[in-house]
Amino acid sequence: MDALLLSLLNGLSYSLLLFLLASGLTLIFSLLGVLNFAHGSFYMLGAYVAWQTGQWLGFCGGLLVAPLAVAAVATLFEVGVLRRVRAQGHLPELLATFAFGVVLVEAARLLWGSASVPYGIPPVLQGSLFRLGGLEFAAYRGFVMAVGLAALGAAWLLLWRTRIGLVVQAALTHAPMVSALGHNVPAVQTLVLAAGGALAGLAGAVGGPLLITEPGMAAQMGALLFAVIIIGGLGSLRGALFGALLVGELQTLAVAVNGSLADGLQRLGWSAPAGWPAASGIVPSLLHLDLSRAAPLLPYVLVVAVLAFKPHGLTRALGRDEAL
């Protein structure tokens, strides 16, 4: 039981890290209408910048500088590239973000090498926060959760309790009208891309020590992020949170469970027909596959299922047609 609870908590911290990334990605999508393929690279850049500046300014310094630096890069990219190609429609924009992501990864490879860099947990946050039974919950995981929740709170306050948030919300759904009322919609778009970049940078700064800091982290995280926002519903912040929690906990719990689908069915009273081969043939071997082995696959299975049955994602299907 303790092990399950601990796994849930571990999954929660991982989910909140995913949410930091997915929230930016989904906001950018709703406002700019493009999937930002460079988002994984923003995450990677955040980790590298935090590690590099952390050498001079300490861990906290890195944590502050990384979001700002990534936001600056995102701003330059929006103003310098995205605005120019926007006139040609969404496809060139999409390709531009994809190309920019590759450029960032290769630049990191040139600057910092293709091996992982030793971006570690600072001594203050090492050790355990509390113990559950005989198991430790790492202090750093608690810290990641705190950062994730703080970012969630800040995003919520900014979007729902400020005038800027009001304009952003309006621009999400009624951009021409907001523009006609005298607001600078392109500036709002830049702001959202910068904010998304800052969130990704922050995620990189806290995720680097938790996971791994190397150029490959961009591609690894990128694919999972798309799964998260598709499951949650493209363009919805609540959906991003929902999707992140679902994917994070699903992956963690699938590993924590010992046993296969067949074991679960047996517990529910189902028994294999006599004469069924236990481990050969496609259906039996799928049924007898350990769930923990299939864990990395589950988010993508879920994506396919969601696209097939609820093409707009789970949250929209739950009954709100607003973007947020």
Partner: protein
């Protein structure tokens, strides 16, 4: 055909340039080696390091060798995928490369070994030899063995032989957990670990076994929670690349106290993550240890000076020594003669005298069990500048880890070079065009 003045001039310039080449370079026969391993994707860092290792030892051996040849490494990126590996082999063959180097991933290695054998049957006179420097699935030298495949790293059962011998003498280990990568290699490790432990230490319980998708898992904390819940006091893992670094990181965060017996703790990037917390608990069972005196020290120093990284694949050096020794013995660089000469060859390399066993083409060499310790006067090599090193616990000489060969080798009927067929029209047309 009339020659224009410009044509004539360019011909003259060409011959001048050829004449300006250093005499040595022109005289030494060049042996091209195709390097086929991931240079992009999750395992790119390892692949790049391996490529640099090969290039570095080629430079070393090119300074002078008994065979009087010059090695040139030609990189191909297989992205870690089986299909791309086979495609890369074809690309290499098209460039007339007759020696292939590959190591990462037993799945790719098995496919490559089969593709090489198939090619050699179909194209007598154009044979290709495959030096496998890292894939260790026992099928490669067992059920699927091939005359053209040579394994430079100890196979899974050999490494596990050394590992379980070490565990046998540690009564404090009672509960063992297996975390392996989910492909043929990881499953072989789990299978042999169970078998050998059951034989050598029937009192040991295997309390858990997890297979992780290769390069897919980012958060290893649930696995560590399982290990802790199972109260294991030892983990056996053959993970490599990010799958190992992430596992070590998660173990530290979870405050894991169990010993970690690894195949690849010295591979690139992993030592940087191990840290002081794991001193004495992380074990490396490998064909090398960084404090071996002699040649290895000079190689490690030279490599670090040049690439600012650790020389973590020293078997590359053994590989080129094997080739030069065989070429010297065969008085030829023709793959079919060199392959025959490599069978049963004994030679000296950085870890002492080694033998390429003729029966299954498995290199027999010492295996070292070492553990993560602070750098000291006796063990001075500072691994990845961490202040720590792998300090030797004990050495298993080849005789102790050699297992009976499982291979029924199909040798070519003759090692004489087959009569080369006259070149096809298209090929000669291409050559004439140059």
């Amino acid at each position: 055909m009339t020659l224009s003045r410009r044509h004539l001039l360019s011909l003259m310039a060409g011959s001048l340039a050829a004449g300006a080449l250093p005499v040595r370079a022109r005289e030494l026969p060049v042996v091209k080696l195709a390097f086929i391993d991931p240079l992009t994707g999750p395992f790119a860092a390892i692949g790049q390091n391996q490529l640099q290792s090969w290039q570095f030892v080629a430079d070393r051996v090119n300074r002078g060798n008994t065979a009087g040849v010059r090695f040139e490494i030609v990189p191909f990126d297989n992205k870690g995928a089986v299909q791309d590996t086979v495609n890369a082999l074809q690309a290499a063959i098209d460039q007339d490369i007759r020696y292939v180097l590959q190591g990462d991933g037993s799945g790719a290695a098995l496919a490559l070994s089969k593709a090489v054998s198939r090619h050699n049957v179909r194209h007598p006179g154009k044979e290709v030899v495959y030096l496998n420097y890292a894939a260790v699935d026992p099928a490669l030298t067992g059920s699927d063995c091939s005359f053209w495949h040579f394994a430079l790293q100890p196979s899974v059962p050999m490494t596990l032989q050394a590992m379980t011998d070490d565990i046998r003498n540690r009564p404090d280990i009672q509960r063992v957990y297996l975390i392996e990568q989910d492909y043929s290699f990881g499953h072989q490790v789990a299978k042999y670990a169970r078998e050998m432990l059951a034989r050598k230490r029937p009192d040991i319980q295997i309390v858990g076994e997890d297979f992780v998708a290769l390069g897919q898992v980012k958060d290893f904390s649930p696995y560590i929670a399982k290990v802790q819940a199972a109260k294991a006091d030892c983990i056996i893992t053959a993970n490599w690349g990010p799958d190992l670094t992430l596992l070590i990181k998660a173990a530290q965060q979870g405050g894991l106290k169990a010993d970690l017996y690894t195949f690849y703790a010295s591979s690139l990037g992993a030592p940087s993550e191990i840290g002081p917390h794991d001193a004495g608990r992380v074990k490396l069972v490998y064909y090398s240890e960084p404090n071996l005196p002699g040649t290895l020290q000079s190689l490690q120093k030279g490599f670090r000076d040049k690439y600012k990284q650790d020389f973590s694949v020293p078997v590359t050096y053994t590989g080129l020594l094997l080739l030069t020794a065989a070429m010297t013995k065969a008085h030829s660089i023709d793959p079919i003669k060199v392959a025959s000469a490599m069978e049963g060859l004994k030679f000296h390399t950085f870890n002492g005298e080694v033998t390429m066993r003729a029966a299954d083409h498995q290199l027999l060499q010492p295996i070292y069990v070492s553990s993560w310790q602070p750098v000291s006067a006796a063990n001075p090599y500072n691994v990845e500048n961490t202040g720590y090193t792998f300090a030797l616990d004990h050495t298993d000489p080849p005789a102790q880890t050699t297992l009976p060969a499982q291979c029924t080798m199909q040798r070519p009927l003759t090692t004489e070079i087959y009569p080369v067929k006259p070149p096809k029209v298209r090929a000669s047309a291409v050559r004439g065009g140059n």
